[in-house]
């Protein structure tokens, strides 16, 4: 019955809301209201999502013992309580080392919808991405062997791997990071914007609808499009030099392309830009207009766009904080040096 009503509502809106139609016309896509449809979008066909894998992946995501120091979990830089990132300009990792390129930690929420991972798009998916920070010396600073030894040293983890993957489960670096990636796939946050596109016209206030229109008309949706409202690779500083270009030395991928960040939950993911140099959302909007679109976004338009962007704040999945297995005598000792 609920489903039927929803279908009717969607049907009604396609006709009733030219704005939703316009948004879809420029490539904006809603997170489906139907959980089964969401599951189809986020699943990994080669390693299907199951509750056991997700629960195990969550534990590994929160386990600082995977790092060399025993102090830095995935959640340290991608804090699920803090919009899925760390709120600092450049990521801080092992030994309090800042990211050598002064790169800002992107949010893990809705990262599953991005076409590529990392600012230079060098990774195709979350499973692959998870390997990077684990081994990077200025991040978790671990080795594959360290991580494999840690996980294999705890009978509870071994049992959970068997529960998730069968009794012959291989517990190695790849299966560990794959499982973390699977958990991350589930971190999807539908918002009032999605409700609007899915047919609930009242989900956005008239000011937010006006902001959406300004967002589209200004050209923001050229890059901030698709279900991620971003997530593709784009040229950077196309129409003017970025005013904080000298913060860090990141130049994009081999072709100078930079990943467009998702705008979902943008109010929680300051500071902005690849080098985290801009703290104000409004300033970020104006700077984007200037360097990507060659547009002088007026104060009024920037405020209107900001009003819309706030409607992208999503409903977070509930996370039971995982109680991790106890270390054993064979668990590698942390090394903070």
């Amino acid at each position: 019955m609920k489903h039927l009503l929803l279908t009717l509502a969607v049907g009604a809106t396609v006709m009733a809301s030219p704005l939703a139609k316009q948004a879809k016309g420029v490539g904006l896509v809603a997170i489906p209201a139907d959980q089964k449809e969401v599951m189809k979008l986020i699943d990994n066909p080669n390693n299907r999502l199951t509750p056991e894998k997700i629960e195990l992946g969550k534990k590994l995501y929160f386990d600082p013992r995977l790092s060399k120091s025993g102090l830095i979990s995935c959640n340290f830089c991608h804090n699920l309580g803090e919009g899925g990132d760390d709120g600092v300009s450049a990521a801080i990792g092992h030994g309090w080392t800042a990211n050598p390129h002064h790169l800002n930690s992107p949010t893990v929420y809705n990262a599953v919808f991005a076409q590529k991972q990392f600012w230079d798009g060098r990774s195709p998916d979350l499973e692959d991405q998870a390997k990077g920070p684990a081994l990077a010396p200025p991040e978790m600073a671990a080795t594959e062997v360290h991580i494999e030894k840690v996980v294999n040293s705890m009978p509870e983890y071994v049992a959970e791997f068997k529960k998730a993957y069968g009794k012959d489960a291989k517990i190695d670096f790849t299966s560990i990071t794959d499982t973390i990636g699977l958990f991350e796939r589930t971190l999807v946050t539908p918002s009032r914007f999605d409700d609007f596109l899915n047919g609930d016209e009242k989900a956005l206030t008239s000011a937010e609808q006006a902001g959406l229109k300004t967002f589209i008309d200004t050209g923001c949706a050229t890059c901030h499009t698709g279900i991620a409202v971003g997530g593709g690779m784009q040229g950077f500083a196309l129409t003017a030099p970025y005013k904080y270009a000298k913060v860090g030395d990141f130049k994009g991928d081999a072709n100078g392309l930079v990943k467009t960040p998702s705008l979902r939950n943008i109010t929680e993911t300051a500071p902005y830009f690849h080098n985290g140099a801009i703290w104000s959302l409004k300033e970020a909007i104006v700077e984007m207009g200037r360097i990507q679109l060659g547009v002088n976004v007026s104060d009024k338009d920037a405020a209107s766009i900001e009003t819309f962007l706030k409607a992208l704040d999503g409903r977070k999945p509930k996370v039971d904080f995982p109680m991790l297995p106890a270390s054993t005598d064979s668990t590698p000792k942390p090394n903070v040096n």
Copy 2:
């Protein structure tokens, strides 16, 4: 009905279990099975526990923005998923600075039952304790003003303080750390040992019961007593010098007294001793016997005591990982330097 059965069981056991009687006789105390009794023990008469205060305190406990860097929450060193501590020898804080006295982070679980807080017992309760790490330069490195500005900058926090303390709620350093302390009071983990003392004779295996007897007969319960199975102030290295005395420079309080750690969840809180110098529980047991009791604990007795101690692993309260309020333009920027 359930309550009646329990009462009968308790009644039956007092007569049936000489071991439980012996344990109580040397001062060991169970966490009550009745939640109302637990509440009486953990409540703060001057600032009564309410669900609103606990929920708010949990958010503050998990919020890294209270620290100077924006990266170190209370949970960083007292990780609720990791036995309530950090699993490293000496605490690591702001700027990756190790505790200057090489002191090990104690667990926050059941800390409410300790007579004093900190290794030198300088703090009377959790509310007072919470002020320390927040301001300590090698820990969260914040100032009172920073913390007050952070919390007051977020309307959601302000609203939650009003919900918890009334519309005239004062949001200052003291009320913030008090609220964190209140949340910490709820971190109580009843174990099978408590079930045993509360009348369920089968809650401990015969090997664990034998271990409890060895524990008592060896003299461990002289200091590891009360509901915390520790938590009081005692002389240290009474019968022989501690073999890792040179790790750090901690000498106890003005009288040389050192806080006896709780043994609850001891399997999750390695490394052991105030300076985190011993990683093996068995080695810790033997060293304690040697330096505190002048007893050469045999391998067999150490193994037996260890078997009992494992039964102190408690049932953790379920923690919904808190989704924190978004920073605003007036939230102080993190400073990682």
